[in-house]
């Protein structure tokens, strides 16, 4: 893919994958200190082709095919960041990010704090996450709790091509370490992106967004479940129920003000994610919303998530993953109170 073939301008219909690719390209262009690192990100362009063509255009010193060692990737990224670089690391799949866990939680997350602000580590850890792609084990996990529970990290996840394009650039510009979760099952979803719009025109990186107004029940999701929310709202509308939908976009910090505001109006909340519910993000959201909206809630917050099992073989994943029916079932439950 030669540089000149891409019309990096105007409003374009892009997939999330392509939007990420172009966002990373912009980031590499905008700042010579930006580096991409990871397994197979160079010559191959990544197993999902998110970094396709970037090594060819920016060279092997900007787009590094790293040795097969996740701790090594994050650990050397930390060193590179100390040297003034802004590394963007790819973990090939969610389930393969755990060998780097010590470097991420003990080192990357804590360095700014322990150095009393003298060291900043603008490192992005890109992780394709979530299920629904029919793959083998370890390729479909939702590790967001591990990262969102870790103070010092920020955790974001886009759900649309537009967000993918801008959020990845914002993450690269952020001076804090950002775990950037990419809903891999949605890489091929299309949407419009205005490539001429400056990054500064995008919403703040850590803000949630009400993306469909409604009156009867609030439904919160992020990343891969946003599509499920949309389908649910459509189906609910047919039954005469109006769902208000929120895309969290950021899992750490959480931006719950729009959710509180919504719940105060609807009196009902359903939180949807693929991660197992037990200590999944919905636990925190339920706890906080209940606390903030104690007198507004007509029913307890309903949580729809993966089951509390290891991720199953993919022939079973349709039962594991929250879908339209499970969301509507939860909405129904909120009306049973």
């Amino acid at each position: 893919m030669a540089k000149q073939q891409i019309p990096l301008t105007g409003a374009q219909q892009l997939t999330i994958g392509k939007a990420l690719n172009l966002g990373l390209r912009r980031a590499l262009e905008d700042d010579p200190k930006v580096l991409l690192m990871g397994e197979d990100v160079g010559r191959l362009g990544g197993v999902f082709r998110i970094t396709d063509g970037l090594q060819k255009d920016f060279g092997e010193d900007r787009v590094l095919d790293s040795p097969l060692a996740e701790s090594g990737i994050v650990g050397t990224a930390i060193g590179l960041a100390m040297r003034g670089y802004r590394p963007v690391c790819e973990m090939q799949f969610d389930g393969f990010s755990y060998p780097a866990f010590d470097q991420v939680t003990n080192q990357l997350a804590k360095m700014h704090y322990r150095s009393r602000g003298r060291i900043t580590l603008p490192v992005v850890i890109r992780i394709p996450y979530g299920g629904g792609i029919g793959s083998v084990e370890h390729h479909s996990e939702s590790p967001e709790t591990y990262y969102a529970h870790t103070a010092g990290l920020k955790v974001v996840t886009p759900a649309t091509p537009r967000d993918a394009y801008f959020m990845v650039q914002q993450a690269v510009r952020c001076d804090d370490p950002v775990v950037f979760l990419e809903p891999k099952a949605r890489y091929y979803e299309k949407g419009e992106v205005d490539l001429d719009a400056p990054v500064a025109s995008a919403e703040p990186l850590f803000a949630s967004r009400v993306f469909r107004a409604g009156t009867d029940c609030t439904v919160v999701g992020y990343g891969p479940t946003i599509r499920v929310l949309r389908e649910s709202a459509d189906a609910a509308a047919e039954d005469g129920r109006s769902l208000e939908l929120v895309d969290l976009r950021s899992l750490s910090p959480l931006d719950l003000d729009p959710v509180y505001e919504s719940v105060r109006r609807t009196g009902r909340l359903v939180v949807v994610h693929e991660a197992p519910t037990n200590l999944g993000p919905s636990a925190e959201i339920a706890a906080r919303v209940t606390s903030e909206c104690f007198y507004s809630l007509e029913a307890p917050v309903q949580r729809v998530g993966g089951f509390n099992t290891p991720y199953p073989a993919s022939k079973l994943e349709e039962h594991f993953l929250p879908d339209l029916d499970r969301v509507l079932d939860a909405v129904d439950r909120t009306f049973a109170y």
Partner: protein, 393 residues
């Protein structure tokens, strides 16, 4: 094949000296063998000698090895076809690595234990596991549905390098059981790739193996690639040379030579079972196909490289040898092909007919002793499923 190699190579550390030799040179070598690259059968089917590794095979054993090689390749090709036809989600092909797997797999004794990666279908075959066993995993029906203890062949491990520690721990257990020091001693083989050699876990496996003098063979199939990354992205030095740093021998073997892989592995396993500790074996080979069926190797390697390696095909050289030596005749070759037809036919049927797991299996075996959360979720799920009854859902 019962014959043990005659001598134990002196010391592993001596093996690390000649690091500068170009890999290509080594792999391409003809009938004058380099002692640091063990080869017993040259690419053109000549039987060659090696000072440290001499094995006598009976004619039947030669034929048996050939049959294994052909069958596992055919099973592999069939599996790739099954994936292309939509019956498998993905397949990780062993094409090109048959000799490394059959050589090492046949070197195992019944009591030995093997810890594979996700590509050791050839070793699985040697262990006597049903060749259809891994296909549930690649179909998405299960995570591996055979009993590891039935044939001493562990489940596949997908997290790169993790199984090498399990293997070393298991081998430590053999030691604590007092099952080393005799001909009946037990040994373990841990498979891993060239890419895996970079993982911290593989290092720690070597550390524990060395310190505890565990009866384990660390068997690295250097197939030159970790997905798209050539082995130069992992190391500037031959992988077998890592062994010296842990205080045990390292050997590089022609991974496309089934005889050498057999001899070297048997030798290392026997050393292990006799209490002489671990060995690192680097089988120098090549992944002829894509990393998995989802991979497109034309993006990162050229045809001429693949062509070069075709010249070193692990099966062709055995066939040439059998023919030249008149150990096998046309009837034999035809019978092997017929066997392969039959076995792959059974595979095809099996895979196509494989039932989907039932939804309730989702909640099974999370815990050996159960857990109220899973029980509650299972109960909820049952009710939930039942609520659709009659809706045609």
């Amino acid at each position: 094949m019962g014959d043990k190699p005659s001598t134990r190579p002196r010391s592993g550390t001596g093996r690390t000296r000649r690091a500068s030799k170009r890999d290509d040179e080594v792999a391409l070598q003809g009938p004058t063998p380099d002692p640091e690259f063990v080869q017993l059968l040259s690419p053109d089917g000549e039987r060659v000698d090696h000072p440290d590794y001499s094995v006598d095979f009976t004619d039947e054993e030669y034929r048996g090895l050939y049959r294994d090689l052909v069958i596992v390749r055919r099973l592999d090709l069939e599996s790739t076809a099954l994936q292309r036809q939509g019956h498998l989600a993905i397949w990780a092909s062993l094409e090109g690595q048959e000799a490394a797997q059959i050589g090492s797999g046949r070197a195992l004794r019944k009591q030995d234990m093997a810890f594979p990666t996700y590509r050791e279908h050839g070793v699985l075959w040697c262990r006597g596991v049903d060749p259809t066993a891994p296909h549930g995993l690649f179909r998405g029906a299960d995570h591996g549905d055979w009993d590891p203890s039935e044939h001493n062949f562990n489940l596949y491990t997908l997290v790169i390098g993790a199984q090498t520690l399990h293997a070393v721990g298991y081998a430590m257990g053999i030691g604590y059981d007092g099952k080393v020091g005799t001909d009946d001693g037990e040994a373990v083989i841990a498979y891993f790739g060239d890419g895996a050699s970079s993982q911290g876990d593989v290092h720690e496996a070597c550390v524990f193996a060395g310190v505890y003098h565990a009866p384990v063979v660390l068997f690295c199939q250097n197939n030159q690639y970790a997905i798209s990354e050539p082995v130069e992205r992992q190391t500037r030095t031959p992988i077998y040379q890592r062994a010296a740093g842990y205080g045990f021998p390292g050997v590089r073997v022609d991974g496309n030579d089934v005889l050498a892989c057999y001899a070297v592995t048997r030798h290392a396993l026997d050393a292990a079972r006799h209490g002489q500790g671990p060995t690192l074996v680097e089988a120098y080979t090549y992944r002829m196909g894509p990393h998995t069926t989802t991979d497109d190797p034309t993006r990162y390697r050229n045809g001429s490289e693949v062509e070069t390696w075709k010249q070193r095909d692990p099966i062709a050289r055995v066939r040439t040898f059998l023919e030249k030596q008149k150990i096998a005749d046309d009837a034999f070759f035809a019978a092997v092909d017929a066997d392969a037809d039959r076995i792959t036919g059974r595979l095809r049927e099996y895979v196509i007919d494989m039932p989907d797991p039932t939804p309730e299996m989702l909640f099974e075996h999370v815990y050996a002793e159960g857990s109220p959360l899973q029980d509650a979720e299972r109960a909820w799920f049952r009710d939930y499923q039942a609520s659709f009854a009659g809706e045609g859902h």
